[in-house]
Amino acid sequence: MGQLFHSVLLIEEKCRGCTRCIKNCPTEAIRVRAGKARINAERCTDCGECIRTCDNYAKTAITDPLSRLKDYEYAIALPAPALYSQFGPDVDPATVLAALIDMGFDDVFEVAYGADISTFLTVEYLRRNKRKGPMISAACPAVVRLIQVRFPALIDSLIPVDSPMACSGKLAKEAKSRELGICEGKIGAFFITPCPAKVTWVREANNLGSFAVDGAISISDVYGEVAKRLPEVIPPYPKPKASSAGAGWGRTGGERIAAGIGKSLVVDGIHNVIDVLEQLEMGKLSDIRFVEAQACTGGCVGGALTVLNPFIGRMNLEALVARLETPPNLFEELDIDLNLLRRFDEFAIKPQIVAVPAFRLDQDVSRAISKAEMIEKVVNELPGLDCGSCGSPHCRALAEDIVQGLAVDTDCVFKLREEIEILAEQLFEMAKKSPPALKDNDAFSKPWE
């Protein structure tokens, strides 16, 4: 099954079995076992939080190597807007695109331009959709996965239009196939990604038969190659197509600014996102129309596969956004060029978003209820210090693991100490006892005195 592929993985040799990652994982997907962190594939959202928090650099992300370009007759790079932010405040996007071509890509298609298309589709979707209440952007794949795993009631609130990446891949391949007269299968579209969640998304879509994008190469892998070419490359296009608003998608707030939807809420950082989703699930914030939620602090510029500090990246991207322009009739132009209104349904999100019941205790509800009852009992007997020494993120998680047969109560160092204390007392009591043959005042012999 495709859904079990994950970009985020552990480098065994580097893991020291500390508790940092298990405590920061937003879906409690990690346990330390035998001195190594283990990631539960069903729960992992590929948000990259563990990559960021690991001091030993033991978490990494599988991305596609540049050698995969050779698998295709024609390879197109799809650079995320966040890529521009990595090379200082004055970089010209045209030179970044030129550097990518110089590196070995046959062509480029700006995902910032794809972002303009996603903005168009989002606005159009909200116009067509009569459903009241807040609708959530589905552009951040880690947020989408988080909703699938932890907030299934909010799946219907996701805006089901293609992400900038998917729009770019689809249109780039379509256009090149027509231009070159080769079938789309021979054209490879590679996203230059700021985050592992996009890698997973691409792989999963491929496994389910959707090939808008064929691979994802990390920003950190192309960074050096692009940086060294920037001073001398000659841009292939005099002027990139993306608008200022499209480029702005690379940082938090960019979607909201681009879409210009009245009452919007913008949130970033996966733990802040969880707080907001909790409130949305409670039916709060009902007067808000649009929610932009980004798993990474700062948005895509803060992705785990970027090179620069998120805040510096953000500053650089802001400078670029200020230099670029957004034409007042952007949407009309897009529609004339790409016929988006008529083709609206072709840009429905793929793969379809379904609930992932990764927290379910048992397939059978009554068995699940009795397990839940046992968890309450077990958790009351644990110290409640949430130290993580047992390898589970907190006492409740250990209780759940115990009930599921994945741990035992003496995995808790305090429970173990308690039991040792009891045992020691028993030993001490036993040590004081001696057989009657060794005792002096023997009551047994008294009657014979």
Binding site: A153, A355, P357, F359, R360, A368, I369, E373, I375
Partner: protein, 142 residues
Amino acid sequence: MRLEFPVAGRDFQAAGGAAQKIKRTLRQIGIDAETARRVGIVAYEAEMNIVIHAFSGKVGVDILPERINVFAYDQGPGIADIDLAMQVGYSTAPEDIKEMGFGAGLGLPNMKRYSDNLVIESEVGCGTSIRAVINLPTKEGS
């Protein structure tokens, strides 16, 4: 099974915590997302009412094979006119709490909206007790 959590009046820091724990357990049991959401909302509103109006109280759920009962009871001022309190927008929350964005007069109406049955008993000067029933979807319906 029963889950029960103490709720302290005016403790806005911890407010919502009980409802979150209840939702966590419902998710683990495999209660469908929509029912879990309804239970979460009813429990949250009940919890918030205690935080806003009462001195202290408890909120909890009984999880049964065919339905979920949400219950809450508190020691507090009680509700003088329950019919009036059920009206959207009616609130007796103090000004300082309204300034925090609470007390919009939606709590009880929301509880009624998201439950299949709601019973409120209250005595002025003593406290309030609330019982709400949320039926699980039947096999044919789901």
